[in-house]
């Protein structure tokens, strides 16, 4: 083996790498926030909607969870283009990621909702709370608190999976890497650097979620329990 590693050749590209990291964070942050909101709404519909709504959400979740993200991205990008609407690659990327992560969020939050004991709902009812108030104070908040670790893992996976959007040339870290390696012919080194960047990113995202959790879930902070 006579391969000479040359990481220095990548040094001039540090700006591009940094930009790639930023774009990936941006992309996954938008998808996470939207996915959480839509996913939670779906979970509510899934556990308390009319039969038709329940069925539709269940079908959507099954379809998404049993097909690859890559194909979903292609469908959103090319599919919508054939309908005559032109989407930018980045918009299509966000849209596909949101469609994807909404389904997973729905399943996770639904599990949380179902773990809330029926007696809790009865207690809220006896106190005169309305359905909406019960949902907000007694179901959703503790449910999300309970499944927060699972949500965190899912959103870290989403951040990593956002690399797949490079396949439609959306602007993010992997797409940046693909460009740099074809510029420099230092493919192996490029992907090592990018791999390390993703590992760091996933740590940062994890820590970020941990801190956010402590901020939002006061009880965890006070008791140091994880339920």
């Amino acid at each position: 083996m006579s391969y000479q590693f040359d990481f220095l050749a990548l040094l001039p590209y540090w700006r591009e790498f940094a930009l790639g990291v930023w774009l990936t964070l941006e992309l996954s942050a938008i998808a996470t926030v939207l996915g959480f909101v839509f996913g939670t709404l779906c979970a509510i519909g899934r556990s308390g909607g009319s039969p038709a709504v329940k069925w539709a959400i269940a079908a959507y979740v099954e379809v998404i969870r049993n097909t690859p993200l890559l194909v979903q991205i292609f469908l959103v990008y090319f599919g919508i283009a054939t309908l005559g609407v032109h989407l930018s690659a980045n918009f299509a990327a966000v849209a596909a990621l949101v469609v994807n992560v909404t389904a997973y969020t729905c399943e996770i939050v639904r599990a949380g909702i179902e773990s809330i004991h029926k007696a809790q709902l009865e207690a809220a009812e006896c106190l005169g709370l309305s359905r909406a108030q019960t949902y907000w104070h007694v179901i959703l908040r503790p449910a999300v608190e309970r499944v927060y670790p699972a949500l965190t893992s899912q959103y870290v996976l989403l951040m990593l999976a956002s690399s797949i959007t490079s396949q439609i040339s959306a602007e993010e870290l992997t797409a940046v890497a693909n460009r740099i390696q074809s510029d420099t012919f230092r493919s192996f080194e490029t992907y090592i650097v990018v791999g390390v960047l993703y590992i760091l990113l996933s740590m940062v995202v994890r820590i970020g979620f941990g801190l956010f959790g402590l901020l939002v879930f006061v009880r965890r902070r006070k008791l140091g329990t994880s339920l």
Binding site: Q120, E122, C126, L127, L129, S130, H137, F217, R219, L223
Partner: protein, 242 residues
Amino acid sequence: MSAVVRLSDVHKRFGAVTVLNGVSFEVGRGEVAAVIGQSGSGKSTALRCIDALERIEQGTIEVCGHAVHDPKLDRRALRCDVGIVFQSYNLFPHLTAEQNIMLAPTCVKSLSKADARTLARDVLARVGLAEKADHYPEQLSGGQQQRVAIARSLAMQPKLMLFDEVTSALDPQLTGEVLKVMEDLARGGMTMILVTHEMSFARKVASKIIYMHKGTVWETGPGAIIDAPQTLELRKFVGGEM
């Protein structure tokens, strides 16, 4: 004496099983009624019907002027007048004692946070837990949790309190502290219906005993009937209890 609660000929079925088979009784203002009877005789079900947690098939229930049997019942208004406490506390685990108590007054009665907090401190003091306001349920003993649950109901300033075997899950030491709170309430003039297995407590506090058997009110009368039962069933029940 005006009746706060009036049940007449109440029937309740679960599927093929008739659990309440023509239950009738009245509880007047300031009265404390103790419902006793064997397991499965329908005590909890009767209590749940009074708070509209179960829909009845036949008969009428009137509670604080609300026609509970009416499908058009305003449940929210009913729940503002009636407090209920269960055997299993059912505190909200993600909220502190104080927040548990503040929730309904702010949500249902639109009290300001500050007023609700004052109210919470007040009712917590009444159940002897003023210093536990910032504790989460899991940091409290069973007896303390149950007293917070009682305080949570009291914060809605109900005209009627229902208690369903609130001490059954507690060991004797903790039972005492909860019973004391209930006794104080009774002495303060609160109208109460309590399902209990504590015969001595029932005799001491209750102005009326309602003995239920097989889904009906089998025998009713003042506390003295425990000592001098008229029916064979109550005699057996009381004998077995003590």
